[in-house]
Subunit: 211 residues, 2 copies
DNA sequence: AGAAAGTCGTTACCCATTTCACAATTTAAT
DNA sequence: ATTAAATTGTGAAATGGGTAACGACTTTCT
């Protein structure tokens, strides 16, 4: 709310930095330079310094950055003290992959519940997350603001409409459908087919460059 | 090879356009305007016209675009007549989601084989794709240039090195690790935790805007 | 036929992001 | 104590992408 000047491109890299700093810390490293960081996360070192500088002068000239200090700073900045609860809609293979991933450790996010239309799955418990029938979605959501959409393409529009009516503020959409939502709801699309085809296209047309 | 001036941002949208045009065609629509297209794929109509214009004047003023013509044109441009074969490494939940997805219909890409380290999975057949043991990777790959990496984080570096030595030219990396490869190999990263955390971060810090 | 409406392709501008390059500062070495 | 090496933070320039607006042309309407 108060860091409104941070570029979106920077914000997208923060989780990456955070995770890597965590690794360093666990390895016992107490100091790191933008150059080292750059090699590890594959982001230009000037970009890293610029990214950090939006938060103030976090480093020391001639020295680099103190890992622990940086971690502590980002932990606060990324609102890591407050756990974010999300719901997963669609417990197929892709959904199950999410359920088994532990977002708590580095991201302080937890998938609180999942919904599915298949009677076999309802009642199950994958990765410690209970699965309810999708008909119970609205009554069970109980204040959750974010949904991960991993359902078949055909059901997308109907479910989206229900999520909007219910009142989510963010949707991570893994279906190929481009969903329509009111302006105040944020949607991020991740389209596996598009990602794969884009890679193939780049290989054929830009054979030697890097992204 | 010859379309080297096409911006990467445009190239990433092409698969999206292509898929939607296919839908239109199947619905029997023979004509479409950039405005209609815009509403369906959620891309500004001026951007669409600009994107198309990189390939020449494909439309007609006052009329719009001929769906069939556009499809035929993109089919050639996206090299859709030549099937691209890819290999999938890691047949866990995420990998299985890929195996069950049919990339042939819209993308002319086929997952030819999968590899996994688990003895139970080897010999199985998911979505018509055979699963081999990962030790047989190099001997089985047989000319395949593109790999989808859906293995646990810990195994990433070792497998990547083997893929590089074998000679892939492109990797779609779903592991959280940022892999190191020679410059001539293209890697696209899709990091589920980063995507989720970025969405959450945006919701908290940029509550009303759109991406 | 003539007028009105629709739509493209493109020019000109805008904005966000990346990167270069260097002064300032600190650390490390001799 | 001096010098050399390392490294940040940032001003300025470069890159890349998006969009408003409009002339030109086509279609549709009356």
């Amino acid at each position: 709310m108060d860091q409104n000047k941070i570029p979106q491109a920077t914000a997208k890299r923060l989780p990456l930095y955070y995770r890597f700093l965590n690794n360093l810390n666990q390895q016992g490293k107490s100091r790191v330079s933008s150059k080292e960081l750059s090699e590890a996360v594959k982001v230009d070192s000037a970009t890293i310094r610029r990214d950090f500088s939006y938060f103030g002068a976090l480093g020391k000239k001639g020295y680099g950055y103190n890992v622990e200090y940086l971690l502590e700073f980002f932990r606060k900045t990324l609102d890591q003290d407050e756990v974010t609860e999300v719901a997963l809609i669609g417990a197929g293979n892709l959904g199950t992959a999410f359920l088994k991933y532990n977002f708590m450790k580095n991201n302080n996010i937890v998938i609180k519940m999942a919904f599915d239309a298949s009677a076999e799955k309802v009642g199950e418990d994958i990765g410690g997350v209970p699965i309810y029938h999708i008909d119970e979605m609205e009554e069970r959501m109980d204040g959750i603001q974010v949904a991960i959409l991993t359902i078949p393409a055909g059901e997308t529009d109907g479910v989206t409409e229900r999520l909007v009516d219910y009142g989510v503020t963010g949707i991570l959409n893994f279906t190929p459908a481009r969903i329509t939502v009111p302006e105040h709801i944020r949607v991020h699309h991740i389209d596996l087919a598009v990602e794969l085809q884009a890679l193939v296209y780049f290989l054929k047309h830009y054979p030697l460059e890097n992204e």
